[in-house]
């Protein structure tokens, strides 16, 4: 296919889909997101989302990190071959 033809065929294809009302995002009415989209993606719970800016002082003490090395204890345990303890092959370096 000629260069211009490749482009024009693709664009006509897009326009055909769009004009049929299926592809163009503009034609879809935004649905109400969970929490009106305000819970940041990745947050597990809307009510847990915390805006960063506040005029309040810190209620909890944030002391300097303790000397002992903490071990990750989250959902990382669910990822197969994700760490040395699984005997996975992707880790180069021991702790």
């Amino acid at each position: 296919m000629e260069k211009n033809q490749i482009l024009s065929v693709a664009i006509s294809g897009l326009l055909a889909l769009g004009l049929a009302g299926t592809a163009n995002a503009a034609d879809n009415k935004p649905e109400m997101e969970k929490c009106f989209g305000i819970a940041k993606a990745g947050m597990n719970d809307c009510s847990g989302s915390k805006s960063s800016h506040s005029c309040a002082g810190q209620a909890s003490k944030n002391n300097d990190p303790m000397d002992f090395v903490a071990v990750p204890k989250g959902t990382c345990n669910k990822i197969a071959n994700g760490s040395l303890t699984d005997g996975g092959g992707v880790v180069k370096k021991a702790m």
Partner: protein, 258 residues
């Protein structure tokens, strides 16, 4: 102004760098010591930055757990002072820091996942863009098509990784199943971060799509971008790619290039 500058600079050093406060700082009431007061400010400084990081990196926090995240964040804050009054700008360097953070070395994918999260964080707050108007595209004649330049939504980011970071991110999404199974050896991915209906989304791109989109991102006209991509990837499908990117609200406008 010079006195005020000196006074505030010294107070800033006391809070951020742990310097001894000057004697001009007094608390003239007897309920607590000067050290207590200074420690309240130091605690606010650390706490506000910790909370900003927790807001920007919710998936990293879930992956490593609250205690580990707190330690990671406090170590990061020690080495990365804030530079913006807007807390949403804080934490761009966390992915690099994670990569070199000894206690996290066992989690090889953590740094790339953080890079993806920062891209999502930036996408969340990115400026709005108009929805793509197909009628605008329809105005151009076929002989103008090679010279078209697309506007992309300000939220658009591409993140590459040797690890399945899109799957990891999606597994922590509010809509995801509570239980998930991801094998880190399932391979690399090219994550596209975009925003539609005010919601940040992550989808995967194929190599040809990513190659093409990289050129579009640098405002290379449609003709040149497509031809170069086809030279490298003969099976690249322009129409499918265009439809996908319009649907995902990545392409928001089109104009004739210079």
């Amino acid at each position: 102004m010079t006195e005020l500058i000196d006074q505030l600079s010294h107070f800033a050093q006391t809070i951020v760098q742990g310097k001894e406060p000057k004697t001009q700082i007094t608390n003239c009431y007897a309920n607590y010591s000067q050290n207590t007061a200074i420690e309240v400010y130091r605690n606010n400084y650390r706490g506000n930055l910790h909370d900003a990081l927790a807001g920007a990196y919710p998936v990293i926090k879930l992956l490593v757990g609250d205690d580990f995240f707190r330690m990671l964040a406090l170590k990061f804050i020690e080495h990365n002072p804030s530079r913006s009054a807007n807390l949403h700008h804080y934490g761009a360097e966390l992915p690099d820091f994670v990569a070199s953070f000894e206690p996290a070395q066992a989690l090889a994918y953590l740094s790339d996942t953080a890079t993806l999260e920062w891209a999502c964080h930036c996408a969340y707050f990115a400026n709005d863009a108009p929805l793509f108007n197909l009628a605008q595209l329809a105005q151009f004649a076929p002989d103008q098509h090679p010279y078209l330049v697309f506007d992309l939504h300000p939220a658009t980011r591409i993140v590459r990784s040797l690890y399945p970071i899109s799957a990891i991110w999606l597994a922590h999404h509010p809509d995801a199943e509570v239980d998930f199974q991801i094998d880190l050896n399932s391979g690399s991915c090219i994550a596209l971060v975009c925003r539609r209906f005010n919601k940040v989304e992550v989808i995967n791109l194929s190599e040809p799509e990513a190659y093409w989109l990289h050129q579009i991102l640098t405002e290379t006209p449609l003709g040149g971008s497509t031809m170069t991509t086809l030279e490298h990837y003969p099976d690249f499908n322009l129409q499918t790619t265009l439809v996908k990117l319009v649907e995902m609200n990545v392409i928001t406008g089109v104009k004739l290039g210079a």
